[in-house]
Structures are given as C-alpha cells and as structure tokens.
C-alpha cells in the first residue's frame, strides 16, 4: 500500500515484572483507519501510549516516515506535535476556554501567528459542531461536547495521524453517536486514524483494517470482512461472540 506513516517493529513493554506487550509489529499507512480491538487488559491502551510516547517502550522501534523516533529527543518532539491523541477522559485544559484549548498548541508548539491559529481552530470547531461554544470552559460542557472539542484540539495541530483511546467509553449512551459521527467524517475525509474501540459496529463500518490483541500480542491483523466473517483464531471468535452479544 501507499506510504507508511507509523511502523511498529518488535515493540515490547514491561511494567516491573509484567510483560504487557510482547513483540508487536504492524504498520499504519497514510489515509488508513486501523481499529484495535481486544478484551480488557490486553494492552491496547499501553500500545497506544507507547506510540504517543506517553510510555517509553522497553525495546523495539517506532518508525515515523521511516525514522526511528526513539533515537533522538529532537525527532520525538516533532513527532509528538504531528501525531495527536484523543483520550477516553477528554483531558481538555480546564483553565482554558474551548477556543484557547484549540489555539494553544498551534501557537506555542507550532509557532503559528495567533490570528492564523484562531482561524484554523474555528475551522475545526465548526467541523465538530462546537463553534458556538468557543467561550465556554470545559466544566460547562457535556461529555460528548468535551470529546468533540478534544478532537478539534487534536485536529488544530494538523496532524499526520490521530490516535484514539476508547473515545466514547466515558460517554453516556446518547452522546456516543455524535462523537462517532465526527470520527466517521474524519475517516471519510482521509485522516489517518488508529482507534482503540469497543464499538464493533464502528470498527466494522469504518475501519480499513482491524487489529485483534490478546494478552499483549497481535493475534490477527486483517480487513473487517475477514475478522468479522472469517476469524482465524479461536480467541478472536470467542471475543467477537462476546462483544457482539
């Protein structure tokens, strides 16, 4: 396939005595939507956090456009600005308004002129349907609204790829839809996305590829059709039958 944005090679992560990730290998290509599924504790969040350098991998490589970002601090810094993350708990900056949440990164990290950053921020806030709330503080928003602002904040950095860690798991059921809809639009617009999710319908409909993780290893990495209709592994079958109810 076309050019590789992120490539994971022999990634391993050990917490104390516990090996949480064992020899992870996979690629994310430009414009691709990859969903990571798997049962609780299988290491999905840890993998995403390693990719975003919130955790330091014990060994292995993370290649960003073929450059190993674990080697130099300089490279890892630029990389962080270019690969964004959306968190389960939103993590909006509580002291800033909706607009400032989306402006602070471009201004202080990308060194964009402020008026340009505001313009970009407004563009993405409109895209997620939150432009009316520019003056609100995070505590004044509902969960779904917060998550949409968090997505706009990540987009305002004009990232190469976005990582999502269960973006709808902390939401009330009636707000899940609005966030998934925004994500689906982004996928259609060609954004490169790596999504940890328990939303099986979303994975099936939106993903180009699905990665099934179990106990720190990737058991299957295939198209949604293959994973859902023709799972190769017994554990995948068991997980899917549980997840699909």
């Amino acid at each position: 396939m076309s050019d590789t944005v992120i490539q994971i090679k022999n990634l391993k992560k050990v917490f104390g005595e516990r090996e949480v990730l064992t020899d992870i290998n996979f690629d994310v290509h430009k414009g691709e939507v990859v969903c990571i599924i798997g049962s609780s504790g299988s290491g999905k969040s840890t993998l995403l956090r390693c990719i975003n350098l919130l955790e330091t991998p014990t060994s292995g490589q993370i290649l960003y456009h073929n450059q190993n970002i674990l080697e130099s601090k300089q490279a890892s810094h630029q990389y962080c600005a270019k690969v964004g993350m959306v968190f389960q708990q939103f993590n909006l900056f509580n002291n800033l308004t909706v607009l400032e949440n989306c402006v602070i990164g471009p201004v202080s990290v990308l060194k964009k002129p402020r008026n340009e950053a505001v313009e970009t921020a407004m563009h993405y806030l409109e895209q997620v349907g939150m432009a009316q709330f520019v003056n609100a503080k995070p505590k004044q928003l509902s969960g779904g609204q917060k998550q949409r602002v968090a997505i706009a904040r990540a987009l305002a950095m004009e990232p190469d790829a976005l990582l999502f860690d269960e973006p709808t798991s902390a939401l009330d059921p009636e707000m899940v839809g609005e966030v998934l809809k925004v994500m689906k639009n982004l996928a259609e617009a060609g954004l490169t996305m790596l999504v940890v999710t328990h939303e099986m319908a979303f994975a099936r409909d939106v993903a180009n590829r699905i990665v099934f993780m179990d106990k720190g290893i990737i058991l299957e990495d295939d198209t949604p059709e293959e994973i859902f209709n023709n799972p190769k592994n017994e554990r995948t079958k068991a997980f899917l039958s549980r997840a699909m109810g």
Binding site: L54, F87, N91, Q140, A150
Partner: protein
Amino acid sequence: MLEFINQVLKIWKEYAPALWDGTITTLTIAIIGTLVGLGIGLVIGIYKTIPISPKDNIIKRVSYKIVDFILSAYIEIIRSTPMMVQAMLFYYGIAMVFNIQLNILLSGLIIVSVNTGAYMSEIVRGGIISIDHGQYEAAHSIGMTHTQTMSKIVLPQAIRNIMPSIGNEFIINIKDSCVLSVIGVTELFYVSKYAAGATFHYFETFSITLIYYFVLCFTITKILRYLEKRMDGPDSYTIMGSQTAPEAVIHVNTANHGKGE
C-alpha cells in the same frame, strides 16, 4: 462599664496615630512576607515537581538530589521551629557574625518571608501534584514541553486551587507578625504593649488591639473571597451567533452547574 468605654476611647484618642502606624507596619510585613514567601514557594514547589527519570544522566540526577536535600532541610527546619526563635537567632546572629545592626523592619520582612516560603513550598507542591495527570498527557500529546505545560496549563490551575491557602497564609502572617516585637519591630502588637505600659490600662488597650486585628483579618478575608470569585470568570458563557442568525448571542448560565467537577 461606662468607665471602661471612656477609658478605651481616651486611650484610643491618644494612641490612634501610633496604632495606625503599627497597623501599617503589620500590613506591610504581612503583604510583602506573603508575596515573597509565595515567590520562594513557587520556585521550590516547581523545582520539586521536575520529572527526573532514571535515564537522565548521572550529573543531572545527583545535582538535583543535592539541591532537593537542601530545600527539604530548609522546609523542615523552618516548619519545626517557632518563628519567634527564628527571629531572635536571625537578628542577633547577623549582628554577632557580621558585626552590623541590620535594619529592624528589614529583618522582620526577611524572617516572615523565609518562614512563609517554607510553608508556601509545600502548598504549591500540593497544588501542582493535585492537578490531574491527564492534563500533562494532553499537553504532551500536542507536543508541549514540560516548561510550557507548567506555565500555561498546570500552574494557572494549581495557583487557582491554592488561592484559599495563600489567603490563609496571609491572615496567619497578619497575626503572627506580632512575634517580631521581640526584636523590636514596631508593628501593631509592639505599639499596643507600649501604650499599655505607658497608661497601665492593659485590658482596655488590648481590647482596642483585638478590634484592630479582627477588622484587619475579617476585611481581608472578604476581599480575598471576592478576588477568588473574580478569578473563576463568569458562571455563564455566550453562545456565538450561528450562520443562520449571526447576530444571535445567547447567554447560558451555569451557576449551579458542573461545580462538582
């Protein structure tokens, strides 16, 4: 009773200018001491929350540890000894070692500042570590450095959260600055003692002093509350006009909303 009131009024009339000067000195020491103490506290609190990982080089780790030990010693020694003793040691110690007579008011300011700094360090550190780790992670995820994260995200929230404690230190300083009378700082307590000694009416004089301290602390508490509220910004936000009705601006009040977060 009437006699008591008359006596109080008489003393007050006679000593009002002196008491006023004492009040100003007390306030000056409390304000400057609290601000300088907050400055010391910020520096130490920020230093103590610098992330040091085992992967940093050995020189950085060792020098960090040494400075950290000195700062901890400072905090513990100040917090475990009375300010009155610190004042005596400092004032007479300087006089003995350097053979100079330090300005008394300046000595008082230094003592209160250094003392407050020790308490403020712990308050600031507590304020910083109480900020949700998700705030750091979000900042990291958009590529912000530790310095940027601290100055733009963490400290503004931490300082807002410790405002009540800072106010509390200020009030404590107004009251505790009276121990500086042992080295002769002419603050409110010193002036009162002087007036009482001159008139032999201790009860009446210190009744006046009590009212002075109370009015001072009570008013300042109210002012600080008000400032805290102002810092929080408006309870409501404005919904900006949409494309269909650009002039529409709706005010949403969330005063009783989301306070639990």
